[in-house]
Protein backbone atom coordinates (compact mmCIF):
# COMPACT_ATOMS: atom_id res chain seq x y z
CA UNK A 1 0.00 0.00 0.00
CA UNK A 2 1.40 3.36 -0.93
CA UNK A 3 0.22 6.78 -0.04
CA UNK A 4 0.97 10.35 -1.01
CA UNK A 5 2.71 12.61 1.44
CA UNK A 6 2.45 16.35 0.92
CA UNK A 7 5.46 17.87 2.59
CA UNK A 8 6.35 21.27 1.13
CA UNK A 9 10.05 20.65 1.86
CA UNK A 10 10.22 18.15 -0.92
CA UNK A 11 7.50 17.14 -3.31
CA UNK A 12 9.39 14.04 -4.49
CA UNK A 13 8.50 10.40 -3.93
CA UNK A 14 10.49 7.31 -2.94
CA UNK A 15 9.32 3.69 -3.12
CA UNK A 16 8.07 1.90 -0.01
CA UNK A 17 11.12 -0.35 0.41
CA UNK A 18 13.38 2.68 0.40
CA UNK A 19 11.09 4.53 2.75
CA UNK A 20 11.25 1.56 5.09
CA UNK A 21 15.03 1.55 4.98
CA UNK A 22 15.33 5.25 5.51
CA UNK A 23 12.85 5.36 8.32
CA UNK A 24 14.70 2.58 10.11
CA UNK A 25 18.28 3.70 9.60
CA UNK A 26 18.46 7.39 8.84
CA UNK A 27 18.65 10.47 11.02
CA UNK A 28 15.42 12.18 12.13
CA UNK A 29 15.85 14.84 9.44
CA UNK A 30 16.35 12.25 6.74
CA UNK A 31 13.52 10.15 8.13
CA UNK A 32 11.24 13.12 7.80
CA UNK A 33 12.54 13.75 4.31
CA UNK A 34 11.93 10.15 3.38
CA UNK A 35 8.45 10.23 4.81
CA UNK A 36 7.75 13.35 2.83
CA UNK A 37 8.74 11.85 -0.47
CA UNK A 38 6.84 8.59 -0.63
CA UNK A 39 4.57 7.77 -3.48
CA UNK A 40 4.57 4.86 -5.87
CA UNK A 41 1.86 4.23 -8.32
CA UNK A 42 0.25 0.82 -8.32
CA UNK A 43 -0.38 0.66 -12.04
CA UNK A 44 3.24 -0.25 -12.71
CA UNK A 45 2.51 -3.93 -12.64
CA UNK A 46 3.71 -6.96 -14.51
CA UNK A 47 1.34 -8.94 -16.66
CA UNK A 48 2.10 -12.17 -14.86
CA UNK A 49 -0.72 -14.62 -14.57
CA UNK A 50 -3.36 -12.04 -15.31
CA UNK A 51 -6.46 -12.69 -17.41
CA UNK A 52 -5.22 -9.94 -19.70
CA UNK A 53 -1.97 -11.84 -20.25
CA UNK A 54 -3.82 -15.04 -21.09
CA UNK A 55 -6.08 -13.14 -23.44
CA UNK A 56 -3.03 -11.64 -25.12
CA UNK A 57 -1.46 -15.05 -25.70
CA UNK A 58 -4.74 -16.41 -27.05
CA UNK A 59 -5.09 -13.50 -29.43
CA UNK A 60 -1.51 -13.99 -30.59
CA UNK A 61 -1.91 -17.70 -31.28
CA UNK A 62 -5.60 -18.44 -31.77
CA UNK A 63 -8.09 -20.50 -29.82
CA UNK A 64 -7.14 -23.06 -27.17
CA UNK A 65 -6.65 -26.60 -28.53
CA UNK A 66 -8.22 -29.67 -26.87
CA UNK A 67 -6.37 -31.32 -23.93
CA UNK A 68 -3.27 -33.16 -25.04
CA UNK A 69 -2.75 -30.99 -28.09
CA UNK A 70 -0.14 -28.26 -28.00
CA UNK A 71 -0.52 -24.93 -29.77
CA UNK A 72 2.70 -23.10 -30.54
CA UNK A 73 3.39 -19.82 -32.29
CA UNK A 74 6.99 -18.77 -32.73
CA UNK A 75 7.71 -15.22 -33.83
CA UNK A 76 10.81 -13.24 -34.74
CA UNK A 77 11.55 -9.80 -33.32
CA UNK A 78 14.11 -9.36 -36.13
CA UNK A 79 16.58 -8.00 -33.55
CA UNK A 80 14.13 -5.38 -32.37
CA UNK A 81 12.22 -5.34 -29.11
CA UNK A 82 8.59 -5.21 -30.26
CA UNK A 83 6.61 -8.21 -29.10
CA UNK A 84 5.49 -10.67 -30.24
CA UNK A 85 7.04 -9.71 -33.62
CA UNK A 86 6.44 -11.41 -36.94
CA UNK A 87 4.89 -14.90 -36.82
CA UNK A 88 7.31 -17.34 -38.45
CA UNK A 89 6.09 -20.80 -37.47
CA UNK A 90 2.60 -21.67 -36.27
CA UNK A 91 1.47 -25.03 -34.91
CA UNK A 92 1.78 -27.84 -37.42
CA UNK A 93 3.86 -25.91 -39.92
CA UNK A 94 7.10 -27.45 -41.21
CA UNK A 95 10.54 -26.30 -40.06
CA UNK A 96 11.24 -22.73 -41.08
CA UNK A 97 14.95 -23.13 -41.67
CA UNK A 98 15.63 -20.51 -39.00
CA UNK A 99 17.55 -22.42 -36.33
CA UNK A 100 16.34 -20.33 -33.38
CA UNK A 101 12.72 -20.49 -34.54
CA UNK A 102 12.85 -24.24 -34.99
CA UNK A 103 14.63 -24.84 -31.68
CA UNK A 104 12.05 -22.75 -29.84
CA UNK A 105 9.25 -24.66 -31.56
CA UNK A 106 10.74 -28.06 -30.69
CA UNK A 107 11.66 -27.15 -27.13
CA UNK A 108 8.28 -25.61 -26.38
CA UNK A 109 6.82 -28.89 -27.61
CA UNK A 110 9.11 -30.90 -25.33
CA UNK A 111 8.03 -28.76 -22.39
CA UNK A 112 4.34 -29.20 -23.19
CA UNK A 113 4.97 -32.96 -23.45
CA UNK A 114 6.45 -33.20 -19.95
CA UNK A 115 3.60 -31.31 -18.34
CA UNK A 116 0.90 -33.15 -20.30
CA UNK A 117 2.29 -36.68 -20.44
CA UNK A 118 3.50 -36.82 -16.85
CA UNK A 119 1.27 -34.42 -14.91
CA UNK A 120 -1.74 -34.16 -17.25
CA UNK A 121 -1.36 -30.40 -17.28
CA UNK A 122 -2.75 -28.81 -20.41
CA UNK A 123 -0.28 -25.98 -21.02
CA UNK A 124 0.66 -23.03 -18.83
CA UNK A 125 -2.80 -22.38 -17.43
CA UNK A 126 -4.00 -26.00 -17.58
CA UNK A 127 -6.61 -24.74 -20.02
CA UNK A 128 -4.66 -24.94 -23.26
CA UNK A 129 -3.08 -21.50 -23.32
CA UNK A 130 -1.21 -21.22 -26.64
CA UNK A 131 2.57 -21.15 -26.21
CA UNK A 132 3.87 -17.94 -27.72
CA UNK A 133 7.59 -17.44 -28.18
CA UNK A 134 9.71 -14.75 -29.78
CA UNK A 135 13.29 -15.29 -30.94
CA UNK A 136 15.92 -12.87 -32.27
CA UNK A 137 14.93 -10.41 -29.56
CA UNK A 138 17.18 -7.36 -29.29
CA UNK A 139 20.73 -6.93 -30.46
CA UNK A 140 23.12 -9.65 -29.26
CA UNK A 141 20.75 -10.03 -26.32
CA UNK A 142 22.13 -12.20 -23.50
CA UNK A 143 18.91 -13.31 -21.86
CA UNK A 144 15.64 -15.19 -22.09
CA UNK A 145 12.53 -14.33 -20.11
CA UNK A 146 8.83 -14.78 -19.47
CA UNK A 147 7.00 -11.44 -19.56
CA UNK A 148 3.69 -12.65 -18.18
CA UNK A 149 2.24 -13.41 -21.59
CA UNK A 150 4.97 -15.08 -23.63
CA UNK A 151 8.52 -16.36 -23.74
CA UNK A 152 11.34 -14.31 -25.26
CA UNK A 153 14.81 -15.44 -26.37
CA UNK A 154 17.91 -13.47 -27.30
CA UNK A 155 20.53 -14.49 -29.82
CA UNK A 156 23.40 -14.09 -27.34
CA UNK A 157 26.46 -11.98 -28.03
CA UNK A 158 28.32 -14.81 -29.75
CA UNK A 159 31.39 -14.21 -27.60
CA UNK A 160 30.25 -15.43 -24.18
CA UNK A 161 26.73 -16.63 -24.91
CA UNK A 162 25.20 -18.64 -27.70
CA UNK A 163 21.55 -18.22 -28.67
CA UNK A 164 19.21 -18.90 -25.75
CA UNK A 165 17.03 -21.37 -27.64
CA UNK A 166 19.92 -23.81 -27.81
CA UNK A 167 19.17 -25.33 -24.39
CA UNK A 168 15.87 -27.17 -23.97
CA UNK A 169 15.99 -26.68 -20.21
CA UNK A 170 16.15 -22.90 -20.64
CA UNK A 171 13.04 -22.98 -22.79
CA UNK A 172 11.43 -25.25 -20.19
CA UNK A 173 12.57 -22.90 -17.44
CA UNK A 174 10.86 -19.90 -19.05
CA UNK A 175 7.63 -21.74 -19.74
CA UNK A 176 7.66 -22.99 -16.14
CA UNK A 177 7.65 -19.39 -14.93
CA UNK A 178 4.25 -19.14 -16.57
CA UNK A 179 3.05 -22.28 -14.80
CA UNK A 180 4.31 -20.96 -11.44
CA UNK A 181 2.58 -17.62 -12.00
CA UNK A 182 -0.68 -19.45 -12.68
CA UNK A 183 -0.32 -21.61 -9.55
CA UNK A 184 1.46 -20.27 -6.46
CA UNK A 185 2.39 -16.85 -7.89
CA UNK A 186 5.57 -16.92 -5.83
CA UNK A 187 6.74 -13.37 -5.18
CA UNK A 188 9.94 -12.64 -7.11
CA UNK A 189 12.05 -11.52 -4.18
CA UNK A 190 14.18 -13.24 -1.53
CA UNK A 191 13.33 -16.83 -0.59
CA UNK A 192 9.97 -16.94 -2.39
CA UNK A 193 11.73 -15.62 -5.48
CA UNK A 194 14.49 -18.20 -5.13
CA UNK A 195 11.78 -20.89 -4.89
CA UNK A 196 10.23 -19.45 -8.05
CA UNK A 197 13.61 -19.73 -9.79
CA UNK A 198 14.31 -23.18 -8.37
CA UNK A 199 10.97 -24.57 -9.52
CA UNK A 200 11.70 -23.24 -13.00
CA UNK A 201 15.09 -24.96 -12.91
CA UNK A 202 13.53 -28.19 -11.60
CA UNK A 203 10.92 -28.42 -14.35
CA UNK A 204 13.38 -27.15 -16.95
CA UNK A 205 15.75 -29.96 -15.99
CA UNK A 206 12.90 -32.47 -16.00
CA UNK A 207 11.98 -31.40 -19.53
CA UNK A 208 15.53 -32.13 -20.58
CA UNK A 209 15.67 -35.50 -18.79
CA UNK A 210 12.20 -36.55 -20.02
CA UNK A 211 13.12 -35.69 -23.60
CA UNK A 212 16.38 -37.65 -23.31
CA UNK A 213 14.76 -40.57 -21.49
CA UNK A 214 17.28 -40.29 -18.67
CA UNK A 215 17.05 -41.62 -15.13
CA UNK A 216 18.05 -39.36 -12.25
CA UNK A 217 21.40 -41.11 -12.08
CA UNK A 218 22.12 -40.51 -15.77
CA UNK A 219 21.23 -36.81 -15.87
CA UNK A 220 23.92 -34.11 -15.72
CA UNK A 221 21.72 -31.84 -13.56
CA UNK A 222 23.16 -28.79 -15.32
CA UNK A 223 20.99 -25.82 -16.25
CA UNK A 224 21.86 -24.16 -19.54
CA UNK A 225 24.57 -26.52 -20.79
CA UNK A 226 25.58 -25.37 -24.26
CA UNK A 227 24.64 -21.77 -23.58
CA UNK A 228 28.22 -20.61 -23.11
CA UNK A 229 30.69 -20.45 -25.97
CA UNK A 230 33.99 -22.31 -25.82
CA UNK A 231 35.71 -18.99 -25.10
CA UNK A 232 34.85 -19.15 -21.39
CA UNK A 233 35.46 -21.74 -18.71
CA UNK A 234 31.85 -22.61 -17.98
CA UNK A 235 29.88 -25.85 -18.05
CA UNK A 236 26.49 -24.22 -17.66
CA UNK A 237 24.62 -21.46 -15.82
CA UNK A 238 23.94 -23.57 -12.74
CA UNK A 239 24.54 -27.02 -11.34
CA UNK A 240 21.70 -28.56 -9.35
CA UNK A 241 23.96 -31.35 -8.11
CA UNK A 242 26.84 -29.10 -7.04
CA UNK A 243 25.67 -25.49 -6.77
CA UNK A 244 28.63 -23.14 -7.09
CA UNK A 245 30.54 -25.30 -9.56
CA UNK A 246 29.01 -24.36 -12.92
CA UNK A 247 31.60 -21.76 -13.97
CA UNK A 248 34.78 -20.09 -12.88
CA UNK A 249 36.21 -17.70 -15.43
CA UNK A 250 37.89 -14.27 -15.38
CA UNK A 251 35.16 -12.82 -17.60
CA UNK A 252 32.30 -14.31 -15.60
CA UNK A 253 33.52 -14.57 -12.05
CA UNK A 254 32.82 -17.68 -10.03
CA UNK A 255 29.44 -19.34 -9.74
CA UNK A 256 28.06 -17.87 -6.47
CA UNK A 257 25.31 -20.42 -5.81
CA UNK A 258 25.18 -21.96 -2.33
CA UNK A 259 24.05 -25.54 -1.78
CA UNK A 260 23.35 -25.25 1.95
CA UNK A 261 21.54 -22.78 4.20
CA UNK A 262 24.73 -22.00 6.10
CA UNK A 263 25.98 -20.32 2.89
CA UNK A 264 22.73 -18.47 2.10
CA UNK A 265 23.60 -15.19 0.35
CA UNK A 266 21.85 -12.17 1.83
CA UNK A 267 21.88 -9.57 -0.95
CA UNK A 268 19.82 -6.83 -2.52
CA UNK A 269 21.15 -7.74 -5.98
CA UNK A 270 19.16 -9.90 -8.37
CA UNK A 271 15.76 -9.36 -6.70
CA UNK A 272 17.32 -10.52 -3.44
CA UNK A 273 19.46 -13.27 -4.91
CA UNK A 274 16.74 -15.24 -6.65
CA UNK A 275 19.20 -16.77 -9.13
CA UNK A 276 21.77 -17.31 -6.38
CA UNK A 277 19.96 -18.91 -3.44
CA UNK A 278 17.88 -21.11 -5.75
CA UNK A 279 20.91 -23.40 -5.49
CA UNK A 280 19.68 -24.60 -2.09
CA UNK A 281 16.24 -25.92 -3.12
CA UNK A 282 17.76 -27.05 -6.42
CA UNK A 283 20.15 -29.31 -4.55
CA UNK A 284 17.34 -30.58 -2.32
CA UNK A 285 15.45 -31.72 -5.41
CA UNK A 286 18.56 -33.35 -6.85
CA UNK A 287 19.22 -35.20 -3.58
CA UNK A 288 15.64 -36.46 -3.31
CA UNK A 289 15.47 -37.52 -6.97
CA UNK A 290 18.79 -39.36 -6.96
CA UNK A 291 18.03 -41.06 -3.65
CA UNK A 292 14.77 -42.36 -5.08
CA UNK A 293 16.33 -43.36 -8.42
CA UNK A 294 14.49 -43.93 -11.67
CA UNK A 295 13.11 -41.07 -13.75
CA UNK A 296 13.20 -37.90 -11.65
CA UNK A 297 9.92 -36.66 -13.10
CA UNK A 298 8.03 -39.58 -11.57
CA UNK A 299 8.40 -39.55 -7.79
CA UNK A 300 10.35 -36.41 -6.84
CA UNK A 301 8.91 -34.48 -9.78
CA UNK A 302 5.36 -35.48 -8.83
CA UNK A 303 5.93 -34.32 -5.24
CA UNK A 304 7.31 -30.94 -6.37
CA UNK A 305 4.48 -30.50 -8.89
CA UNK A 306 1.79 -31.35 -6.34
CA UNK A 307 3.38 -28.91 -3.90
CA UNK A 308 3.38 -26.18 -6.53
CA UNK A 309 -0.37 -26.76 -6.94
CA UNK A 310 -1.05 -26.92 -3.19
CA UNK A 311 -3.32 -24.00 -2.35
CA UNK A 312 -1.48 -23.55 0.94
CA UNK A 313 1.67 -22.53 -0.94
CA UNK A 314 1.35 -18.76 -0.78
CA UNK A 315 3.18 -16.04 -2.72
CA UNK A 316 5.46 -15.31 0.25
CA UNK A 317 6.47 -18.92 0.94
CA UNK A 318 9.97 -19.49 2.28
CA UNK A 319 12.18 -22.56 1.89
CA UNK A 320 11.03 -24.17 5.15
CA UNK A 321 7.31 -23.82 4.40
CA UNK A 322 7.82 -25.20 0.89
CA UNK A 323 9.85 -28.09 2.31
CA UNK A 324 7.11 -28.92 4.83
CA UNK A 325 4.54 -29.05 2.03
CA UNK A 326 6.73 -31.37 -0.07
CA UNK A 327 6.92 -33.79 2.85
CA UNK A 328 3.14 -33.76 3.14
CA UNK A 329 2.82 -34.25 -0.60
CA UNK A 330 5.10 -37.30 -0.31
CA UNK A 331 3.26 -38.83 2.62
CA UNK A 332 1.49 -41.54 0.62
CA UNK A 333 4.76 -43.36 0.11
CA UNK A 334 7.11 -43.86 3.08
CA UNK A 335 10.28 -44.16 1.01
CA UNK A 336 9.51 -41.01 -0.94
CA UNK A 337 8.70 -39.14 2.24
CA UNK A 338 11.98 -40.24 3.83
CA UNK A 339 14.00 -39.24 0.76
CA UNK A 340 12.37 -35.82 0.55
CA UNK A 341 12.77 -35.14 4.27
CA UNK A 342 16.41 -36.21 4.22
CA UNK A 343 17.11 -34.02 1.17
CA UNK A 344 15.84 -30.90 2.95
CA UNK A 345 17.82 -31.86 6.03
CA UNK A 346 21.02 -32.23 4.02
CA UNK A 347 20.74 -28.72 2.64
CA UNK A 348 20.02 -27.28 6.08
CA UNK A 349 16.46 -26.14 5.40
CA UNK A 350 15.03 -28.61 7.93
CA UNK A 351 16.79 -29.66 11.17
Amino acid sequence: MSHVMSDPWCSGVIPPYMLDRLTRHASPRVRQRALSTLHIEQQVRGLRGSPAASAGARMAAGAAPPPGQVSRAVHSAANGTSLPGQLVRAEGQPPSGDLAVDEAYEHLGATYDLFWQVYRRHSIDNAGLPLVGTVHYGDEYDNAFWNGAQMVFGDGDGEVFNRFTVAVDIVGHELSHGVIDHEAGLRYQGQSGALNESLSDVFGSLVKQHRAGQDAGQADWLIGAGLFTAAVNARALRSMAQPGSAYDDPALGKDPQPGHMQDYVDTTDDNGGVHINSGIPNRAFYLAATALGGPAWQRAGRVWYDTLRDKRLGPQADFASFAALTIEAASADAATRRAVQEAWRQVGVLP
Binding site: C10, P16, N143, F145, F164, D181, Y188, G253, N271
Partner: protein
Protein backbone atom coordinates in the same frame (compact mmCIF):
# COMPACT_ATOMS: atom_id res chain seq x y z
CA UNK B 1 6.07 6.38 -10.30
CA UNK B 2 8.82 8.14 -8.40
CA UNK B 3 9.59 11.82 -8.31
CA UNK B 4 13.18 12.37 -7.30
CA UNK B 5 14.40 14.76 -4.65
CA UNK B 6 16.27 17.75 -6.10
CA UNK B 7 19.42 16.50 -7.81
CA UNK B 8 21.45 19.67 -7.25
CA UNK B 9 23.18 18.02 -4.26
CA UNK B 10 23.57 14.60 -5.87
CA UNK B 11 27.20 13.51 -5.64
CA UNK B 12 27.40 9.99 -7.04
CA UNK B 13 25.23 7.80 -9.23
CA UNK B 14 25.67 4.04 -9.47
CA UNK B 15 23.97 2.10 -12.23
CA UNK B 16 23.93 -1.68 -12.42
CA UNK B 17 22.03 -4.19 -14.49
CA UNK B 18 20.42 -6.98 -12.49
CA UNK B 19 18.55 -10.21 -12.99
CA UNK B 20 18.04 -12.40 -16.03
CA UNK B 21 18.10 -16.16 -16.45
CA UNK B 22 21.82 -15.86 -17.10
CA UNK B 23 22.44 -13.56 -14.15
CA UNK B 24 26.17 -13.52 -13.47
CA UNK B 25 27.27 -11.23 -10.65
CA UNK B 26 30.63 -10.79 -12.35
CA UNK B 27 28.95 -9.16 -15.32
CA UNK B 28 26.65 -6.83 -13.38
CA UNK B 29 29.65 -4.44 -13.22
CA UNK B 30 28.17 -1.40 -11.51
CA UNK B 31 28.96 1.82 -13.34
CA UNK B 32 29.76 4.79 -11.09
CA UNK B 33 29.41 8.38 -12.23
CA UNK B 34 31.02 10.89 -9.88
CA UNK B 35 28.94 14.02 -10.27
CA UNK B 36 31.44 16.11 -8.32
CA UNK B 37 34.21 15.62 -10.84
CA UNK B 38 32.42 15.20 -14.15
CA UNK B 39 31.77 17.95 -16.66
CA UNK B 40 28.62 20.02 -16.43
CA UNK B 41 27.45 18.48 -19.70
CA UNK B 42 27.80 14.97 -18.27
CA UNK B 43 26.03 16.01 -15.10
CA UNK B 44 23.12 17.37 -17.11
CA UNK B 45 23.01 14.19 -19.17
CA UNK B 46 22.99 11.98 -16.06
CA UNK B 47 20.32 14.03 -14.31
CA UNK B 48 18.17 13.98 -17.41
CA UNK B 49 18.48 10.17 -17.53
CA UNK B 50 17.50 9.92 -13.86
CA UNK B 51 14.50 12.20 -14.29
CA UNK B 52 13.25 10.14 -17.22
CA UNK B 53 13.84 6.86 -15.41
CA UNK B 54 12.24 7.77 -12.09
CA UNK B 55 8.62 7.76 -13.32
CA UNK B 56 9.21 4.23 -14.62
CA UNK B 57 10.35 2.81 -11.28
CA UNK B 58 9.06 -0.63 -10.38
CA UNK B 59 8.56 -2.50 -7.12
CA UNK B 60 11.46 -4.53 -5.75
CA UNK B 61 9.85 -7.83 -6.83
CA UNK B 62 9.36 -6.66 -10.40
CA UNK B 63 9.59 -7.31 -13.26
CA UNK B 64 10.07 -11.05 -12.50
CA UNK B 65 10.23 -14.04 -14.82
CA UNK B 66 13.93 -13.48 -15.60
CA UNK B 67 13.30 -10.00 -16.96
CA UNK B 68 16.34 -7.81 -16.33
CA UNK B 69 16.24 -4.43 -14.69
CA UNK B 70 18.48 -1.48 -14.00
CA UNK B 71 19.17 -0.50 -10.42
CA UNK B 72 19.94 3.14 -9.80
CA UNK B 73 21.47 4.43 -6.58
CA UNK B 74 22.07 8.10 -5.85
CA UNK B 75 24.22 9.57 -3.10
CA UNK B 76 23.94 13.17 -1.90
CA UNK B 77 26.42 15.66 -0.44
CA UNK B 78 26.39 15.69 3.38
CA UNK B 79 23.58 13.19 3.56
CA UNK B 80 23.94 9.56 4.65
CA UNK B 81 20.73 8.53 2.95
CA UNK B 82 20.79 7.18 -0.57
CA UNK B 83 17.98 6.98 -3.05
CA UNK B 84 17.59 3.64 -4.76
CA UNK B 85 15.10 2.46 -7.33
CA UNK B 86 14.87 0.03 -10.20
CA UNK B 87 13.58 0.25 -13.75
CA UNK B 88 12.72 -2.79 -15.88
CA UNK B 89 15.03 -3.08 -18.87
CA UNK B 90 12.08 -3.29 -21.24
CA UNK B 91 10.90 0.14 -20.09
CA UNK B 92 14.28 1.80 -19.70
CA UNK B 93 14.46 5.18 -21.44
CA UNK B 94 17.15 5.76 -24.05
CA UNK B 95 19.26 8.15 -21.92
CA UNK B 96 19.49 5.48 -19.21
CA UNK B 97 20.58 2.88 -21.74
CA UNK B 98 23.23 5.30 -22.99
CA UNK B 99 24.51 5.75 -19.45
CA UNK B 100 24.73 2.00 -18.98
CA UNK B 101 26.61 1.51 -22.22
CA UNK B 102 29.02 4.30 -21.28
CA UNK B 103 31.15 6.48 -23.52
Amino acid sequence: MIELPPLSRASLVRLSRQGGVAYLPGRAAPRDIDLRSCTEATRQEVCQALRQAAPLAAREDEPGGDQRYFRIEIWFVDDPATVRFQVPEARAPEPLLRLWKGP
